[in-house]
């Protein structure tokens, strides 16, 4: 199941996968209505899937950057407004919490020959989604700056801090670190990354009771705060766009940014050749003597609505299969870190692959993780601004989570 070994052997599947049905994509009847997020990879998939349209089949795709706000309602309707939707670790959980996705085993047995085992998101023995790409936050670093500062490539967050101190002391940069610390979802995600890197557990085993108010939680907060000392003072407003802009302007030497941005910072646009040629990627650092990179691994995939009729589900599955076919992945090799058979690992995907190889945790697929993530994102800023203690911040998170989880029926 290891993604790295799979990525490296996946080339062998090219020929096998490329020949899957094309003419009308084999859709005899039914209509497929796909919903997905809106970015280059999904645009390529949507284009390939909607190529199946016509000849008895109806295939439409809707790309919306707010797709996650539509999925649950769209799948709840009967018949569903969208028969298949783009899902991720977190959104699949939201869909499954309401029992709105259907198992795909039957369809895979019938039409899914080209799917690799690691693409199958199997829950309780049933395949609930088919993944097509991987993503994770990982280390971006500036080789030239680190060399000038006399620091090696950090593999731990303690090393990141030491390198940042050297860079600042040498007067190379005032704020050598950047992070997606924008209050809300982004900040919550940074906490999740760092807390998992400390080996923390979010909940008491087998229950929805929160369990972050502990020594690991405090250590996580202290490490985040230590990092912010080397960040631009505006860090609580920095989302990925801002961090990327800071990076491309050459203001930053190290950041833990999304792998999907690795291509964007080395695309010959927005930056100088000097910065781009010195931009390197590596696994996310470990922290506090931990053995796994402090990041979470994400996959993007497709799930099919439970309320879709058999014919529509089959049509949707075939359309999705065509959308995430090896042919699509090969011709859009630069658009994403594809998990699809035959897609060659791209150089800028190095950080994601190394993080996965290092044993980083996948983003927790627990029914109550969404409520926890929301509570963290909303309650953490006060601590980073020095307005409250780490204990108080963790207690606030737990209190906010308990109120939310009670409302959702988990407590």
């Amino acid at each position: 199941m290891n993604m790295v070994s799979k990525l490296s052997v996946s080339a062998a599947f090219v020929l096998a996968g490329a020949s899957t049905a094309y003419a009308g994509c084999g859709i005899a009847s039914g209509s497929a209505k796909l919903l997905a997020n809106d970015f280059p990879a999904t645009q390529a998939i949507a284009a390939a899937a909607t190529a199946c349209d016509g000849g008895g089949a109806s295939v439409t795709a809707n790309l919306n950057k707010d797709h996650k706000d539509l999925i649950v309602a769209a799948f709840t309707a009967n018949p569903p407004e969208f028969t298949a939707s783009h899902v991720t670790n977190s959104t699949l959980v939201a869909v499954m919490n309401d029992g709105l996705a259907q198992p795909l085993d039957g369809l895979i047995a019938k039409h899914g020959a080209g799917i690799q085992d690691m693409q199958k998101i199997t829950i309780d023995g049933k395949v609930m989604a088919v993944a097509f790409m991987a993503n994770a936050q990982h280390l971006f670093y500036r080789k030239d700056i680190l060399e000038a500062a006399g620091a090696g490539v950090p593999t731990t967050y303690e090393g990141v801090l030491a390198a940042a101190r050297k860079i600042r002391d040498k007067g190379l940069m005032e704020y050598p670190i950047a992070g997606t610390y924008k209050a809300g979802w982004n900040l919550g995600e940074e906490f999740v990354n760092m807390y998992l890197g400390h080996g923390g557990e979010f909940f008491k085993p087998g229950s929805a009771q929160p369990a972050i108010n502990n020594a690991k939680g405090v250590a996580t907060l202290n490490m985040m705060k230590a990092l912010t000392e080397y960040m631009n003072p505006d860090y609580l407003t920095h989302d990925s766009n801002a961090v990327q802009a800071e990076w491309e302007a050459g203001n930053v030497a190290m950041t833990n940014l999304w792998g999907s941005r690795a291509g964007a910072v080395t695309d010959g646009e927005g930056s100088t050749a000097e910065i781009e040629s010195n931009t390197m990627f590596a696994a996310a650092p470990t922290v506090s003597g931990g053995s796994i990179p402090a990041t979470t691994l994400w996959w993007d995939g497709f799930a099919i609505a439970k309320n879709a009729s058999a014919a529509d589900a089959e049509a949707s599955f075939l359309a999705v299969m065509n959308g995430i076919s090896p042919a699509m992945a090969t011709s859009n090799a630069d658009a994403a870190n594809w998990l699809i058979a035959g897609a060659k690992p791209r150089p800028v995907g190095k950080g994601v692959v190394e993080s996965a190889a290092g044993g980083a945790s996948p983003y927790p697929m627990l029914p109550y993780m969404g409520a926890m993530h929301g509570a963290i994102g909303a309650e953490l800023a006060d601590f980073l601004q020095g307005k409250e203690s780490a204990d108080q911040a963790l207690a606030d998170i737990e209190a906010a989570y308990v109120a939310a989880a009670t409302e959702k029926g988990f407590l």
């Binding site: 919490n97 979802w185 996948p362 309650e379």
Partner: protein, 343 residues
């Protein structure tokens, strides 16, 4: 007008509002009093591209059975309203009992999300509303003095802050106030402080949002007042001049009373819109330093991937409506009395 005629005139408008506003408000009010069923959780194996893990999942079938029995969920009464993420009665009680002094007490209260948001919302509302009215009025007076041929372009440029979609308007302004942006860098230069950042401190963030709010809403007040100025009765003004009233006295005793009804209208709309302040917080990524009631609703519905807190958002929405009613009550009462006097 007979009731029958009245109804035949108003029903299309009333029907539209009933269907798309009143009905949702009722459903939101009901929703705010229910919470989800106790979820039936089971432990299963979850495998994906990154290996296998044992995780908990919701047993959808068992939960669905519960849901068929009681589609709305469990009745919770005012429970959601009083929980920690809203009015937080229990936490306030604790703070009252344990606080060492008023500073500690208010510190504890402002650590609660609802009250933290309320503090900013009210500050924003009560600073922005009067300043918008004053600024709009002064601009209107100034524009009224310039020669006719310049009036058209002046009005267009004055309307720009209201016209450009806030989505991009705030994006551009957000960059401008960055410490590397034109406004941020100029301020650093003016104050001779290379560390000055409008985005880092709470006070400066509030100030920025308030200035943006005034800038964005002033054109609305301006247009309304400018129009009102055109109808100021010239004969009253002239007789005031003959009586020897100074320029200021004329404004004070003729112009302002004439514009009073307009000021009430603008106040009403502005109080409501400012109480629901939301877009600038998102546009300026300011949620670390400033949250509002509308932002809390947004965060409940959009803050985490797909895990929407409908009940919580519903409760905050109802509280927003109640807040608006309280804010507007004095203004509405005034109108009511004026109406009765007129009738």
């Amino acid at each position: 007008m007979p009731h029958r005629t009245f109804i035949s005139f108003i029903w299309p408008s009333a029907l539209a509002m009933m269907l798309f506003i009143a009905l949702p408000i009722v459903s939101v009010a009901v929703q705010s009093m229910f919470i989800a069923h106790e979820q039936v959780i089971e432990t299963v194996e979850n495998c994906g591209p990154f290996g296998c893990k044992t995780v908990e999942v919701v047993n959808a079938e068992a939960t669905a059975r519960l849901r068929t029995d009681e589609p709305l969920g469990r009745f919770n009464g005012a429970g959601t309203y009083t929980n920690r993420n809203h009015l937080a009665f229990k936490e306030i009680g604790l703070a009252l009992a344990e606080a060492t002094g008023p500073v500690d007490f208010f510190g504890r209260i402002l650590n609660l999300p609802f009250y933290k948001a309320l503090a900013f919302t009210l500050t924003y509302t009560f600073i922005v509303t009067p300043l918008v009215i004053i600024l709009g009025f002064v601009i209107a007076l100034a524009v009224n003095r310039i020669p006719g041929m310049f009036k058209g372009p002046t009005i267009f440029f004055s309307l720009l802050p209201m016209i450009v979609t806030p989505l991009i308007g705030s994006l551009v302004l957000f960059w401008m106030i960055d410490s590397k942006g034109i406004i941020g860098a100029t301020l650093q230069f003016l104050f001779d402080n290379p560390d000055l950042s409008l985005k880092a401190s709470t006070t400066l963030t509030w100030l920025t949002l308030i200035v943006y709010g005034i800038w964005h809403s002033a054109p609305f007040a301006f247009v309304v007042f400018y129009a009102g100025l055109q109808t100021v009765p010239q004969d009253t003004l002239e007789s005031a001049m003959i009586d020897g009233a100074s320029r200021w006295q004329r404004v004070r005793h003729v112009v302002i009373p004439h514009l009073m009804p307009l000021a009430v209208f603008v106040t009403l709309i502005q109080l409501m819109d400012n109480f629901r302040v939301f877009e600038p917080i998102i546009g300026f990524n300011a949620q670390a330093n400033a949250t509002s009631l509308s932002w809390i609703i947004y965060n409940d519905l959009r803050g985490s991937d797909g895990a929407m807190l409908f009940g919580s958002a519903a409760a905050t929405s109802m509280l927003t409506i109640i807040g608006v009613c309280i804010l507007l009550a004095p203004v509405v009462l005034r109108t009511w009395r004026a109406n009765r006097r007129a009738a």
